[in-house]
């Protein structure tokens, strides 16, 4: 699973740091499958999407918080398994 977290200023101000922290708390069997990267900016936050933004396997997800992000990751992991 490819995950990118935006750490640009807008996402940083609106909670990206919390997302990076939350990624450390994932169950190890899921954390092992994650290929984590950072992006300075996806250039979609100014108007079209609400920050903080992450991408999972190339798909953008807006208005993330730790619990919404975890749920998304678990769902993606589930669908990859089946």
């Amino acid at each position: 699973m490819e995950i990118k977290v935006c750490v640009g200023t807008t996402c940083h101000l609106l909670g990206a740091t919390e997302l990076v922290e939350a990624l450390k708390d994932l169950p190890p069997e899921i954390a092992r499958k994650i290929n984590l990267g950072y992006s300075v900016c996806f250039e979609s936050c100014q108007g079209t999407m609400r920050p903080p933004i992450i991408s999972i396997n190339g798909k953008y997800h807006q208005d993330m918080n730790p619990s919404r992000m975890k749920a998304l990751i678990l769902k993606t992991a589930e669908s990859e398994r089946s």
Binding site: V7, G8, T9, H12, L13, L14, G15, T17
Partner: protein
């Protein structure tokens, strides 16, 4: 040192700051100002509160404070009345601008939560011992419907029932703002909303951090700084040492310096350079002084001494704060100085003298970068001023460490780490002889101030690597 948990309150505040700054930069602020609450809180249902109209009203009040206006004096103004006044407000020519009150309660946001009494929760098991009932000296505890109930007319708030309960079923109801305030500066107004007693308040911002409704707010200098840049003022940005790690682990201090220059400041200089000078001055002063000296870098601490320990007023270090020391060097005729830090009390300190014109928090600086379209991470690195001793001022114990290292004689030192330690610290200082008393209003120091963006523990780690070797 406080823990740092990102909350919806921070999100609301930062979103509004960003929106205002972006609109100002695009030149659309006057046109869109009145529509901001509806734009950010589109409804039809409340986003943060049960009523969308209530949260929009709160945002309206917050918007005015972010334009730099005094809450009390502008409370009755509607946003649609502002466009014609805005140039005067941002030029600080309007009497609606706040000059001396930088911590204010938005009454519309205050939940008037209960405080000062005890409440028996449903953890009560109606036990056989009834220790609460027996412990109460006023017979205020009654047993109704199989559980303890406290009769508030008879309760004197002694707390003996809570101590007696084996199930922790009785709690003291406290307002988060009141609990956070070490100086009992938060009272209640006629409608039981929180009310700041300015004869006690030292503008530390603890209540700004503590209120879960985001009701405490601070009038901002953000928009007027942007206005100053637009007017073509030569503004030198000076940034406090607590800025380490504030823009994430990947952004260096040199990149922040360059980002500031790109944002329209004529230069950017680390306040750590001013801190180095202050440390030297205090060390030198202590070599020739026999009596106790207190530090002067934290404006809320200086204010605290004046209001609570007046017999120590003449013991305050003659050295200026690092902010003022540096600003004095850099200030030229028509030039302006903008201080960037984690602090609300610095706004008050700046307003008392001619050296610092604008004060921004790190959150506000983030909004400024976004409005200017600048990514600090994309800037080139540069060398920054200040030694490790000067940078160390940002954490509690840092000033003591610097002065001790620079002073040729052995110093006996005492520290007040947070206003809550104030009483005890000064009691000790009256009983024994100390050379230097370091005071920080925020426990942990500036890296735990009200305007921070990262966990103080992370900043403390990064701080160890900041600054040149001495």
């Amino acid at each position: 040192m406080r823990n740092f948990v990102f909350s919806e309150i921070m999100k609301i505040r930062r979103q509004l700051m960003m929106t205002l700054a972006q609109m100002y930069e695009k030149g659309t602020l006057q046109e869109h100002l009145a529509g901001i609450p509806k734009m950010l809180l589109p409804g039809p249902h409340g986003t943060y509160r049960s009523s969308v109209y209530h949260e929009r009203e709160v945002m309206k009040q917050r918007t005015k404070m972010y334009l730099g206006m005094d809450y009390e004096r502008s409370r009755e103004l509607e946003l649609y009345e502002l466009p014609s006044l805005i140039d005067d407000i941002l030029g600080m020519k309007s009497d609606l601008v706040s000059h001396d009150r930088f911590v204010q309660v938005i009454k519309e946001a205050c939940d008037s939560c209960p405080s000062g009494r005890y409440y028996a929760t449903d953890l009560c098991r109606n036990c056989v011992a009834h220790s609460c009932y027996n412990a109460c000296p006023k017979k205020a505890v009654e047993i109704q419907n199989d559980r303890a109930v406290i009769n508030i007319d008879q309760c004197i708030g002694c707390g003996l029932c809570a101590k007696a309960c084996s199930f922790y079923a009785i709690v003291k109801l406290e307002r988060p703002c009141e609990r956070s305030c070490a100086l009992q500066a938060i009272a209640k107004d006629a409608s039981f909303a929180a009310d700041i007693d300015y004869s006690r308040c030292v503008s530390c911002g603890a209540c700004y951090v503590a209120c879960p409704f985001g009701a405490t707010e601070s009038p901002s200098h953000l928009l007027r700084t942007l206005a100053g840049i637009r007017r073509g003022e030569e503004i030198i940005a000076i940034f406090a040492p607590a800025i380490v790690a504030q823009f994430g682990p990947k952004v260096t201090l040199g990149q922040i310096k360059n980002a500031l220059k790109k944002a329209g400041f004529s230069d950017a200089v680390a306040v750590a350079a001013g801190a180095d000078e202050v440390a030297e001055e205090e060390a030198h002063f202590l070599e020739h002084t026999a009596g106790t000296v207190t530090t002067s870098c934290c404006p809320a601490f200086v204010d605290y001494i004046g209001k609570n320990q007046p017999d120590f007023t003449d013991r305050i270090s003659p050295a200026p704060s690092p902010m003022i020391a540096l600003a004095k060097h850099l200030k030229t005729g028509a030039g302006k100085i903008a201080f960037i830090g984690p602090c609300i009390a610095k706004k008050l300190e700046a307003s008392k003298g001619p050296f610092v014109d604008y004060v921004l928090t790190f959150e506000e600086l983030g909004a400024l970068f976004i409005a200017k379209g600048i990514e600090p991470a994309a800037q080139e690195d540069a060398t920054v001023e200040g030694s490790r001793l000067g940078w160390g001022f940002a954490a509690a114990g840092g000033v003591t460490a610097a002065v001790k290292e620079l002073c040729t004689r052995e110093l006996r030192t005492l520290r007040m780490d947070g206003l809550a330690e104030g009483k005890e610290t000064f009691q000790t200082a009256r009983q024994e002889k100390f050379d230097l008393i370091e005071g920080m209003a925020c426990a942990g120091g500036c890296i735990a101030g009200p305007g921070i963006m990262v966990n103080p523990k992370v900043a403390a780690g990064a701080l160890k690597k900041a600054g040149s070797a001495t």
